[in-house]
């Protein structure tokens, strides 16, 4: 049986090379076009790489890619500057400095307009306030690199088929079996779709979906530029990203290339891309639409008047180049949840292509990539996030954010209100401010609680960036919860059952903790990757002997569901209850009183202890756990009875002063006070359970994924431990991802080469302190600072490990 890579762009080539390298036999790569440029987006890519990104995952992929390009002799370091025309952008560049240090990209510095002029002598520095200079910015030869990788694969026996179009992908019993092409059929048990803008079409052939859309990126090439006529290299000067106008200007031999992400979003249908024969250039170099570029020309002229104002310099090439956009702006990688053996490696840019190739190859061969690809996992999408309407709306909205200033909490505006809980009508009446999670609308705070701000004396934030997407009401809701009780809408949870005679074996395989517990128990457990890092963390209720209910966060729920399904033996299945069950969280000292008044079931501590669940007499399933550190329950009921439950709790709660509270409390203030970790922030594949200080349970005898690595981790001293830090003053509020540094500003790196950075940050209202979490090596516990907006703020290690700063003995939740 063959492994087939469909696609010969940067991703397909890298992947083929790496699969061969990792020993995959009987490997075939197919493209419908000719090599080296089969006509996809790689062929017209502008081929420059700015390594610094706010996302750790994307930065790691980019750095790995740059290493590979360099090793193949296809990288030319020219430096690059992101320039600012506005003060708001300067602030963003200061945050860029923080990300550079957090992810280990050294040598970056902020530069003055005069320095920019010195580095790039044709720039009009008078319109600039400054810039972010990154000396390791490079241009690469992505076609040449692709050839190197293909040749590497061929040398190891891979078969490379150009000009071969896939006509069908056969699936039998949920597994990929065969690829049919214009040059014959190939049996295959593993097929990767690395087809860029055509990927959705290929996925559809197999009954799967890759939710991306082809979209236009406009680009012009002007020349010949007099000052470049004597250039020794293709790029003599740093590449300039004119961030505020969503454009870039780079030298390309004797020409200057000007590209834009500023124009209106222009989306295409994958089925509507011309064939190679029909296209005047290549299928992804579509006719330029001048009217969309008018404003951009003016902007570019302002920045590089010496070149673009020169009447002798002509516009020689102009295209609407197609690239791939996804609903959340991230790549789409991994095995499709619909079809076993069918993988996606799509929506990848030249800057991360080789890294993606290596990572996906590792994932396919070893079951886990070295770089954590959780944000890019194809399994992350809910059906609601795969619809053409959603993809088009988010791709359109996201396009102009390519160079945008995107707040970490920024919300999407388009295609909202897709999934709403039964409580939505009440929440709206209470003035809920909705944030989105997994396409659900979730209240983040409630305007109805505005009066509590004064009552609890919560101060506003004075800096706009920190006050953006935030409200003092969050802290007030938190304090009301700690004093009285609060109701949370947690319907966005992903809820599914593992059912069948071997259900216990399945959950034992996936869950690190012992799952052979009595019915009625609730277990919070890490889910480990093979190498011992975090794949997820979630709670599992044992419902019956052969039925386990998994409750996990909405954002990562679909990927978790696939991971469980992948470990289900024959006869055991997954039942998804996400859209049939709604959830109210009820926590606070008065929670028991409130719950007791809506049910006849005994909810006393003795009758209903912590970490257990019961079905109440009203049919509600109540699970006594807490992510906010207070007495209370998660209450599950069928969607159609949700409003009834909400109203009953609300009425019962009024005498007790119950408040509605949003995810601002649930996800940040409540959990941080309790040092609860969050997946995707503190917990990822880069850190193990011991480093997260979550190994307070005994290792079970039964096997589970990641066990060997986990046991080994327990036997050594961690080289870094997750700590809770406090920041004095309560004047500035970093929002996360900032580097934790020493007094001289130097970065802190642990013995595994990982930088210390703020994984989460938020107020601890009950403590009156601003809390940060960070992994710190043993020698970095004193005299620490957070680098924020290019200033150092002293921070104190409050707790090493997972002991809670608030209610450290957990009296509240166990009361």
């Amino acid at each position: 049986m063959s492994t087939i890579v469909i696609g010969g762009g940067i991703v397909g080539n890298s992947l083929t090379g790496w699969l061969a390298e990792l020993g995959v036999d009987d490997l075939i790569q197919i493209d419908k076009g000719p090599f080296p440029n089969p006509g996809g987006s790689t062929g017209h890519a502008s081929n420059f790489i700015f390594p610094v990104d706010h996302s750790k995952e994307m930065t790691q992929l980019t750095l790995e890619s740059m290493r590979q390009y360099r090793d193949a002799g296809t990288l030319h370091e020219c430096g690059g500057i992101e320039v600012a025309r506005t003060e708001e952008r300067m602030e963003e560049l200061r945050r860029r400095m923080a990300s550079a240090k957090s992810w280990g990209i050294d040598g970056c510095r902020l530069v003055t307009p005069a320095e920019i002029r010195e580095l790039v002598p044709y720039v009009n520095e008078e319109i600039l306030l400054g810039g972010f200079y990154c000396p390791s910015v490079a241009v690469v030869d992505s076609l040449r690199f692709g050839t190197v990788m293909r040749e590497r694969a061929q040398a190891k026996g891979a078969q490379i088929l150009a000009n071969t179009e896939v006509t069908a992908i056969d699936v039998e019993d949920g597994r990929v079996r065969r690829v049919r092409t214009t040059r014959g059929d190939f049996d295959a048990d593993t097929v990767v779709i690395a087809c860029g803008v055509w990927s959705p079409r290929l996925a559809r052939m197999a009954g799967a979906s890759i939710p991306l859309t082809p979209a236009v990126h406009q680009m012009i090439d002007v020349g010949p530029v007099p000052r470049f006529l004597t250039s020794k290299t293709a790029v003599d000067h740093p590449i300039v990203r004119d961030m505020d106008t969503n454009m870039y200007e780079r030298q390309d031999g004797q020409g200057l290339e000007v590209g834009s992400y500023a124009h209106r979003p222009i989306l295409h249908e994958p089925d509507d891309i011309p064939s190679i024969e029909e296209a005047a250039l290549t299928p992804t170099e579509l006719p330029f639409t001048q009217e969309d570029f008018e404003l951009q020309l003016e902007h570019a002229l302002e920045l590089v008047p010496e070149i673009l104002g020169d009447e002798s310099v002509g516009i020689k090439y102009a295209i609407n180049g197609l690239l791939s956009l996804t609903p959340d702006g991230l790549p789409i990688l991994g095995e499709t949840p619909e079809v076993k053996g069918l993988w996606s490696a799509a929506a990848v840019w030249v800057k991360e292509g080789p890294g993606v190739g290596k990572s996906v190859a590792e994932w396919m061969v070893h079951g886990e990539p070295e770089i954590d690809l959780q944000s890019s996992d194809v399994a992350r999408f809910y059906p609601e996030q795969r619809t053409p309407e959603h993809v088009a709306a988010r791709a359109s909205e996201g396009f102009n954010k390519t160079y945008g200033i995107v707040h970490p909490a920024e919300q999407w505006e388009s295609n909202r209100g897709v999934r709403v809980s039964p409580f939505h009508v009440r929440e709206t009446e209470l003035g809920a401010v909705f944030y989105e999670a997994a396409a659900w609308e979730r209240p983040h705070w409630y305007a109805s609680n505005a009066l509590l701000v004064e009552e609890y004396g919560v101060k506003p934030r004075t800096h706009e960036w920190e006050a953006r997407w935030w409200s003092p009401i969050i802290n007030a809701e938190h304090l009301a919860m700690r004093e009285r009780a609060a109701m949370f809408d947690l319907t966005a949870f992903c809820v599914f059952d593992v059912v069948g005679p071997n259900a216990l074996d399945a959950v034992q395989q996936v869950a690190a903790r012992q799952m052979n517990v009595p019915n009625g128990r609730v277990v919070y457990t890490p889910v480990l990757a093979p190498r011992g890092g975090f794949k997820s963390d979630l709670t599992i209720m044992r419902m019956e002997d052969d039925r386990f209910r998994v409750v996990t966060g909405g954002a990562h729920g679909m990927a978790d569901m696939k991971w469980f399904r992948d470990h289900c033996p024959d006869g055991t299945r997954i039942e998804d209850h996400t859209s049939s069950v709604c959830t109210v969280g009820l926590w606070g000292p008065r929670a028991r009183d409130i719950l007791a008044s809506v049910t006849g079931t005994d909810v006393s501590n003795e009758a209903f202890p912590f970490a257990t669940w019961q079905e109440l007499d009203n049919g509600v399933i109540a699970s006594r756990i807490s992510y906010v550190g207070d007495l209370g329950w998660e209450l599950y009921t069928p969607m159609e009875r949700g409003l009834e439950l909400w109203d009953a709790l609300w009425e019962a709660g009024r005498p007790h002063g119950v408040v509605p509270a949003g995810i601002g409390v649930y996800g940040t203030t409540g959990r941080l006070e309790k040092a609860y970790r969050a997946f995707g922030f503190e917990l990822d594949q880069d850190y193990d359970v011991v480093e997260a200080d979550m190994a307070w349970w005994k290792v079970k005898d039964e096997d589970f994924v990641g066990k060997a690595a986990h046991v080994a981790a327990r036997e050594r001293d961690p080289v870094a431990t997750l700590c809770t830090l406090t920041m004095e003053g309560n004047e500035r509020f970093p929002l996360g991802r900032e580097p934790v540094v020493r007094a001289d500003g130097s970065p802190i790196t642990d013995a595994k080469g990982r930088r210390s950075y703020v994984t989460s940050a938020g107020m601890g209202p009950s403590l009156g302190k601003y809390l940060l979490m960070a992994y710190l090596p043993p020698d970095a516990r004193d005299d620490l600072h957070v680098q924020y907006m290019e200033r150092l703020y002293p921070v104190t290690v409050e707790v090493v490990g997972s002991r809670a700063p608030f209610d450290p003995d957990n009296e509240r939740i166990r009361s």
Binding site: G33, P34, I276
Partner: protein
């Protein structure tokens, strides 16, 4: 009666052949310096059901003048006529148009190399008094350095795949060995790598070689329009799906920068 303008060349003989199928033909021509408006006025004055000429530079020009004088429609480069329905060439031959020609007399030219040539027979020389309109005053011979593209027996041509002006070295070498001319595609002239006089295509030169060697030319319709007059086409291209292959008799799949020098070397070898 069909009046057919002839110039005593191959294309005229083809036009006469076409005209004969329509009815009795009077083949006519003119003496003296070429003066299109004056000649056309004389043609327009002839009694005829149709006035026909070859789809040559002069044929098309004369018929356009006749059409203007008579204010009648004119169909250029016709390949077939059935009643008043013509099939004519568009896009340099990449497309045909079926159209109804409503005029009388019918004015048309015959698309080159689409009809067999016939014996022209007797040719009547018409009188066309000088009306003062522009005419060919003198002929300047081009100081051509080599074989002309139009008449060369072999044309070796390069396209985008050649990559640069310098890249044409291998093309020139092969053309030299074969005693042929160097050609190129429109991309190449636009890039300034070769002069327009080397351009083969719809808007360049239409060649009539025994062998046309297209190196690194994808085969846009605009190019094929100029190359299809060749008896045989050999394409050298790294892309086996390049459109040029649909017009080629022979193909070598490979990088022209390797294939072309190898052919030159082989030619030298067989010649000793």
């Amino acid at each position: 009666m069909i009046v057919c303008f002839v110039e005593g060349d191959e294309l005229s003989a083809q036009a006469v052949g076409f005209a004969r199928a329509l009815g009795p033909v009077r083949a006519v021509t003119f003496a003296g310096a070429y003066q299109p408006a004056a000649w056309a006025a004389a043609l327009a004055a002839q009694e005829a059901e149709a006035i026909v000429a070859a789809g040559s530079d002069r044929g098309n020009e004369l018929l356009a003048h006749v059409a203007a004088v008579l204010d009648q429609p004119f169909a250029a480069n016709v390949v077939a006529l059935d009643g008043d329905t013509v099939m004519r060439v568009r896009w340099g031959g990449s497309l045909l148009e079926e159209a109804r020609l409503h005029g009388a007399p019918k004015l048309l030219t015959v698309a080159p190399h689409t009809q067999p040539a016939v014996e022209t027979g007797e040719v009547e020389v018409l009188d066309a008094p000088d009306d003062g309109s522009p005419k060919a005053l003198e002929r300047v011979e081009e100081s051509s350095g080599g074989v002309s593209l139009r008449d060369a027996k072999v044309v070796v041509s390069g396209g985008r795949g050649v990559g640069s002006a310098e890249g044409f070295g291998v093309i020139e070498e092969l053309a030299g060995l074969l005693g042929g001319a160097v050609g190129c595609s429109r991309v190449v002239t636009s890039a300034g790598w070769r002069p327009h006089t080397d351009q083969v295509g719809q808007t360049g030169t239409k060649i009539s070689a025994d062998l046309y060697i297209a190196c690194g030319i994808s085969g846009a319709t605009q190019h094929i329009a100029g190359a299809k007059g060749a008896k045989k086409i050999l394409a050298i291209n790294s892309d086996p799906e390049a459109p040029i292959l649909a017009s080629a008799d022979y193909a070598v799949i490979g990088d022209l920068h390797e294939v072309v020098p190898a052919i030159s070397a082989e030619l030298r070898r067989v010649r000793g």
